[in-house]
């Protein structure tokens, strides 16, 4: 009779072996990155998988970082009218970025690198309000600066065939920090799939891609509360793969005279956006989620809904009001999101 329970032994061992998630954390591109693997191992050991992910991240970091004069991206600059041949991956991400810039009417802008430095919000300096003259001087050539909100600014470069570009604004340091992390997360996701570990979480800063499933229930992603770091403002639950990204005013900021100045700028003013505390986006890819969260932060819910619909993403905005924090959600987000300690904003 006891033999009928013999199957329990291997079953218990299999469950034990396959259910424990395995994590790997590291720094790359001035960002904290992590992967967590779920389920059975692929044809490689976990350490071998981690090593391949490290190598892929280093390769992509060498392309996209804006902190090195040797990166592939650093070579994408010149004077107006120059034609440059560009690395195919940089070319693809630039196309996506400029499309987002156009569709968001300039709310997503990859030419604000020096603005972060001017405000001391690049992570290496003390934050401060810049002098008006310095701000005007820096933003003078930005085609969004001072433009009305319904017009589309001219892009800093044009695309030709054969991965060539034409510079339309000279001496601009391009900053793909608002999209490259998402692209890298997507590449690591594809790599993990190819290595036979389809059930995983890839994270780079606030960009997360959940691949496959974890076999023990739905994926659950907490959204950090914008004002209480040890609390969650809500939890997103889904039983399928998805990407999620958050842009928040609490990542790099300083206070002056009771006002919070942070690193997400309105390209039309050169000043940090006020009134929005954070935006979380659910999208199919991390590249899309990463690019659009910054644009939706700048646009806010009133002006940003059209963009969310166009790209088919779900969004929650956490707004700072005189009555405290409140949330505005798209219909798909409200079905997947459970708010905690934050109320819905009253309808306008």
């Amino acid at each position: 009779m006891i033999l009928r329970f013999l199957w329990l032994l291997p079953a218990l061992m299999v469950i034990q072996c396959t259910d424990a998630p395995r994590s790997h954390n590291w720094f790359a591109m001035d960002t904290n990155m992590s992967i967590t693997l779920y389920g059975a191992k692929g044809h490689l050991s976990d350490d071998a998988v981690f090593a391949k992910v490290d190598a892929e991240t280093a390769r992509l970091g060498a392309l996209f970082t804006d902190y090195s004069t040797q990166s592939g991206l650093a070579h994408v600059r010149g004077t107006m009218g120059d034609t440059l041949s560009v690395d195919p991956e940089i070319y693809g991400v630039l196309r996506t970025a400029l499309e987002m810039g156009r569709e968001s009417r300039g709310a997503f802008d990859i030419t604000l690198h020096d603005l972060k430095t001017l405000w001391g919000l690049d992570g290496n300096h003390q934050g401060h309000i810049p002098r008006r003259a310095d701000l005007d001087s820096l933003m003078h050539d930005n085609t969004a600066y001072g433009l009305p909100s319904d017009s589309v600014p001219r892009p800093p470069l044009d695309f030709l065939s054969d991965r060539r570009i034409v510079i339309r604004r000279g001496d601009v340091t391009l900053d793909l920090g608002g999209i490259a992390k998402g692209y890298i997360v997507d590449r690591i996701h594809v790599l993990l799939d190819s290595l036979g570990v389809p059930n995983h979480i890839v994270q780079a800063g606030g960009d997360i891609r959940l691949g496959g499933n974890k076999k023990s229930g739905a994926w659950s992603v907490g959204i950090r509360h914008p004002r209480y770091s040890d609390s969650l403002a809500g939890t997103i639950t889904a039983d399928h793969a998805f990407s999620v990204s958050t842009a928040g005013d609490y990542e790099r900021f300083f206070f002056q005279d009771g006002v919070r100045y942070h690193h997400i700028f309105n390209p039309r003013t050169g000043y940090p956006v006020q009134g929005v505390s954070s935006v979380t986006v659910i999208a199919k890819t991390s590249e899309a989620a990463d690019a659009i969260d910054d644009a939706l932060f700048v646009l806010g819910p009133k002006n940003g809904l059209y963009l969310a619909k166009k790209y088919g993403v779900e969004v929650v905005w956490f707004l700072e009001t005189s009555a405290g924090l409140c949330a505005v959600t798209t219909p798909g987000m409200s079905r997947q999101l459970t708010l905690s300690g934050v109320r819905n904003c009253p309808p306008e």
Binding site: M13, T36, S220, V221, I223, R224, S229, D230
Partner: protein, 127 residues
Amino acid sequence: MKLFRGPDLLLVLAVAAAAVWFIRGIGTDAGARAVVYVSNKKVAWYDLGSPPRTVEFPTRIGTVRAEFGGGVARILNSPCPNKLCVRHGAIRYRQEQLVCLPAHVLIVLEGGDEQQGSRGRVDAVTQ
């Protein structure tokens, strides 16, 4: 009447041992701990169920002081210019992270405490 014969008894013991091993496997996921990385090297692990205690880490730009215990981890002091990691405050959820980029210090929470309710069981935190 004997309940088990010799070989059956051995099998029962083996299954019981496997069950204990399995339950211990689950147990490692139930207690939250903080893992500390300095310059991409894992340098320390701290049980967050313990009373709070202060620990210092030498980094490439100076000493980072952090506190672990009482269910949370937080950075108390750091030589980085904007002190963002200090102002970040405490973290308590699985896969939540504290980062001091200039110092290359990363603190990640692993596991997760059932006492924290369903919010403590998230798979990741977007921040």
